[in-house]
Symmetry: C2
Subunit: 216 residues, 2 copies
DNA sequence: CGAGGGATAGTATAATTGTACTATTTTTGT
DNA sequence: ACAAAAATAGTACAATTATACTATCCCTCG
């Protein structure tokens, strides 16, 4: 059985270091490296390609979505396991589209992490209950995929900037003043973001921001 | 040097188990136990009182604030270290008032965790840069403590329930219908919550909910 | 060069949230 | 049993957000 090289990217040092310890204790893992964010992870991969990359969804500098996209494009041989706190359907579907290989909530048992690592290394995909339930929901409810204008949420820089300021509890008027824009422009951006991420109001935006790591 | 018993409560199993491993590797720590939430932690403590309790701020069932309050009241000899992702001034000040002994962001180095554990065990309080900066801000800005109606945010069950539903992207009308309450009542609760937690709008509420672990 | 995406800005209207109060009933703690 | 806190419900008005459009300018990619 081939020994595995595993890299992990997570901005919470304590969690990351503890995970490094845990990973080192797994039998089939020969090499573990860690990175604070997506950018650092990509640098690591550039030097030496791992078998598996464990990526936190919420990270500053380069978040899990962006990081995964780049890894899939540049190093399709690397298997990606996404770690997340939130079991948001939207994300899981979108990330599955991107081509990641497993989803784990941060509250899974170490056992399951180990199983997931071996599964993606050997069989390309790790199917757990989380993913299964999302797929089932997607099939039965069809809410997300059916929404006519649904696009995976890829926000522009301007949109991220405005989303960030919304999360600072500013109104559109205040954001306009701060960015030297018309209140109307800001409002239009807000509406565009809401449509992109598929939420009905500002509450949904803030939640998205937390889940996507726009605010940390 | 006295060996230490340390308990940790965190709802993310992976993180918690990894932390248990890490803690066991520290020299002065003789005993480590873990709990999924505050309630479980209190049960553990009831059986055997630890030297240090490490408590995650965001937990379901019984969050860090409530747990800490109870530990301080019932077992004042237990030193409490709060783990949090967000360096929100409001919380840190409030928790310091409650009588917790250290604050660590989840992105601290394992070294610092070790130092913090020994410090609270020996000297009652661990002063790090995070706490220092909050105290400094509090002195120079005085924003929080000065706010006339500022009360530490202790929400009632009803308020938590409504906050939770607000975070489901429901409007006051919808919440009223769901809970068989007048829209006005729900609005009043919302306003009360906003005042309690010291925010200006619904965005602040959602952020509070995330930070306080009302939504997970 | 032309199409499309992104950023800008506008109008108009409906719905919801935010502010500021009063008031009654129920529950809880001492 | 009494006081305090919590939950309930209301009115009135201001401010902001939500919905649904049109339109122009700029930049980039094929």
């Amino acid at each position: 059985m081939k020994k595995l090289k595993v890299y992990i990217a997570d901005d919470h040092t304590l969690f990351r270091k503890a995970m490094v310890n845990l990973l080192r204790s797994f039998d089939r893992i020969s090499d573990v490296k860690d990175a604070e964010n997506g950018k650092e992870l990509l640098t690591l991969i550039k030097n030496e390609v791992p078998d598996v990359a464990i990526v936190d969804l919420q990270m500053p500098i380069m978040d899990g979505t962006e990081t995964s996209t780049q890894i899939v494009q540049k190093y399709p041989e690397v298997k990606i396991i996404i770690l997340t706190m939130h079991d948001s359907n939207k994300f899981i579907l979108h990330m599955m589209d991107l081509g990641v290989h497993a989803f784990l909530l941060k509250n899974t048992e170490p056992d399951e992490l180990e199983r997931a690592i071996y599964a993606v290394a050997d069989k390309d995909f790790y199917h757990n209950d989380l993913v299964a339930s999302v797929l089932r929901k997607n099939v039965t409810e069809r809410k997300i995929a059916q929404r006519p204008n649904f696009k995976p949420a890829e926000l522009t820089e301007r949109e991220k900037e405005i989303l960030f300021l919304i999360c600072q509890e500013l109104t559109m008027k205040e954001i306009g003043q701060r960015l030297f824009l018309s209140e109307n422009t800001v409002r239009n951006h807000r509406v565009n973001i809401m449509e992109k991420v598929g939420v009905r109001n500002i509450v949904g935006l803030v939640k998205y921001a937390y889940e996507a790591g726009v605010v940390i």
